[in-house]
Symmetry: C2
Subunit: 163 residues, 2 copies
């Protein structure tokens, strides 16, 4: 059986895989109280709030990495990427973090939906044109696949906050 | 910049995403003693041994699902998919499970490397030809993307066995 427009198909498959993990994470966050999010996902491990901030900061970094402009919340990087949970740095309020998480993912989704197939296969901004000639898999779509796994890793942990 | 052979490129990208999670999981399992694997990943949650058996059984099921033949270890399904960790059912010895895990993934990898691009975009065996006409994303490569997320979910949990 021949495949119809396999490039569009693959972009859709990768977006579906991303959206499945995003939707599951949204449902989980929405089902957890602020008190539950403040708990560690396992003894001595990251808190739900830290992982919420970490995922938001990592997804926010997709804007510059994919050539979509500046980060929306650059201040999150210091607390949630450069430092661990128990750094002593002050964290934003949980309801503010929830708002940032939704805002980042909603704006990403709009941009993703507007990418042409060709744009998905263009290089991301962390690789030079010369290197991309040799390593054409280092494109925007590949970043999406890797961030899907990253989200899935942490979603598996966040589930432990449900009693 | 034009992409060279985009179909081969995204098959490679999807295989890379799978292999990254497999390699990280292998390294983790190899670094954990049998005693560590016997622990729960978090209080009241699945043990490392159960997740080892569960992932092995889910990956073993890819052989029939992708049209690659029968399962290698069909007996794992009852204990590790149909029943939860504390079912009281007897589990195989941990060293036997470790062997099955490696065997399943190594044999899958050989088969994956031999798939042509066209074969990756063929339907999996859980969808009829008629439905596949309407839903062409339900192909073998999409199964691989979904199982990559599944593995990533559980890998995020298994990491907690490291002290």
């Amino acid at each position: 059986m021949m495949v119809k427009d396999p490039q569009q198909l693959f972009v859709n498959m990768a977006l579906d895989a991303w959206n499945i993990q995003i939707d599951r994470t949204n449902k989980l966050f929405n089902s957890l109280s602020d008190d539950q999010l403040a708990q560690e996902v396992a003894p001595g491990r990251n808190s739900g709030i830290y992982l919420l901030g970490h995922l938001t900061a990592v997804h926010d970094a997709l804007f510059p990495l994919l050539g979509l402009g500046e980060k929306l919340y650059p201040q999150l990087e210091e607390v949630f990427i450069k430092h661990p949970d128990k750094s002593g740095l002050e964290k934003p309020a949980t309801n503010e973090l929830r708002r940032c998480w939704n805002d980042v993912n909603e704006k990403l989704q709009k941009r993703f939906n507007n990418f042409s197939i060709e744009e998905w296969f263009q290089r991301h901004t962390a690789i030079s044109e010369a290197d991309f000639e040799k390593e054409p898999h280092r494109n925007r779509l590949n970043v999406l696949l890797n961030r899907t796994s990253h989200l899935a890793n942490h979603l598996g942990q966040l589930i432990f906050l449900k009693k």
